[in-house]
Subunit: 256 residues, 2 copies
């Protein structure tokens, strides 16, 4: 499997020492893993058909510990990333220096799509838990010799999905009442956990109340109160970040 990498167009575009030949002095080098096109498609849950499948092309992975930064605003665009494992936080820095949380990318989500149009990333992405990313290098996407596979197509598809996701979360903020927003937020989270293959009724939120509040445009105290209120109503169980959803139905219809 490693030998495939040597022949791949990726290593042709930017040479780096072959993992199998590298010295064991650098632990990072030895820990490097690779993913193929099929795994990327699976992670993204790409439904479309693939006409030109070049599965000899391998993509480098990148490990992050909780708290580490994955992408920085202003940094030169060097590719898109697919989350293979873990939870992250995407945020933008306002003119006045304040932070605004935009999304909480998790397994199967795309990072860096805001970096294409200006050649630099426009948002900050930090790991909330230990993470594992797959890098799709810019050269693979936009090199002149991008012949013979559908990477670009899939990228367009995935970026479009990002647009939809963002529109939906933005639309969520039109829900006036804090409780309703938080309830909706939990519904979304539950669905995402389900889509990732985890339980939709019990999960650990990877983010703080402050981050949730920032994301929903309310204060962290309001979020806390909303959690407590939903708990008192018997709809969910709350123990710090551990959430148990007793009734998805009631959660969805809360406030209507």
């Amino acid at each position: 499997m490693m030998s495939l990498q040597v022949e791949s167009s990726l290593s042709a575009a930017r040479w780096r020492p072959s993992p199998s030949l590298s010295q064991p002095t650098l632990k990072l080098e030895r820990d490097e893993r690779w993913s193929d096109f099929m795994e990327v498609l699976g992670l993204l849950r790409y439904e479309g058909q693939v006409t030109h499948l070049d599965n000899t092309r391998m993509f480098r992975r990148r490990r992050l510990k909780a708290g580490q930064s994955a992408l920085c605003a202003g940094q030169a665009f060097d590719g898109l990333y697919v989350v293979r494992l873990g939870a992250m936080k995407t945020s933008m820095v306002e003119l006045d220096g304040g932070e605004h949380v935009i999304a909480f990318p998790m397994k199967g989500d795309l990072l860096g799509s805001d970096g294409i149009c200006q050649g630099k990333y426009m948002s900050e992405v930090v790991a909330l838990t230990d993470c594992d990313l797959i890098k799709i290098p810019a050269e693979s996407l936009f090199a002149r010799e991008r012949s013979g596979n559908d990477l670009e197509l899939v990228a367009c598809w995935a970026i479009s999905r990002e647009i939809v996701r963002e529109q939906s979360t933005y639309a969520m903020t039109c829900l006036t009442k804090t409780d309703v927003r938080v309830a909706h937020f939990l519904t979304i989270q539950a669905r995402r956990f389900a889509a990732m293959g985890y339980s939709a009724s019990q999960f650990i939120l990877p983010m703080t109340r402050r981050d949730i509040g920032n994301y929903l445009n309310v204060t962290l105290e309001s979020v806390s109160r909303a959690f407590s209120a939903l708990g008192r109503a018997g709809i969910i169980g709350v123990n710090r970040r551990e959430i148990t959803i007793h009734s998805h139905e009631a959660l969805l219809n809360f406030g209507t």
Copy 2:
């Protein structure tokens, strides 16, 4: 120019009656115009290089009167649109039936990028003024025979820009005070008018107070009050939808 259309790959992909042969009974048919790749790039303000320029390909235009619908949620994806003229409103319909305004596309903006990932448009787009759109058909973007030009690349670039724009407007909603949001909104509008070649200090807003309020997550009354307050402060002049900005500086720094 009309003759080009007959040979174009577009008309090969989906046949329709030639404008020059159509009966004069249908005025719409006679009014059809076409735009080339270069005009699309210019409208989008695409800065990147184009390596495979196929300028024989022509794109059909679409005219809309104020109030007409350009795209509907659920409608099958049939391509992307570039605004050539006019102002529009993009919105999503909530679970509870409420509308949420997402953007106000104007000249040079892209429509329909949320339709790629599920094969159907996810938002409503209506014309606020008379509009002129350029259609980039789905076949041109994703057909197997998408050989020899950079349309896909430019699409990716433009969609990425949509992401950035949306992130920015979403981030704007973190500004707590209504007045500050409205001030920021006006700054953005002024810059957009400037980018389109119009005056940044005097312009007519194409949207209602209700739409602005929905967009900024405040009520229309609050928007009206904010306008009045900014007017009393001498920063802007307000006469219904006609806005005069007396100090861009003060507008930007308002509330800090």
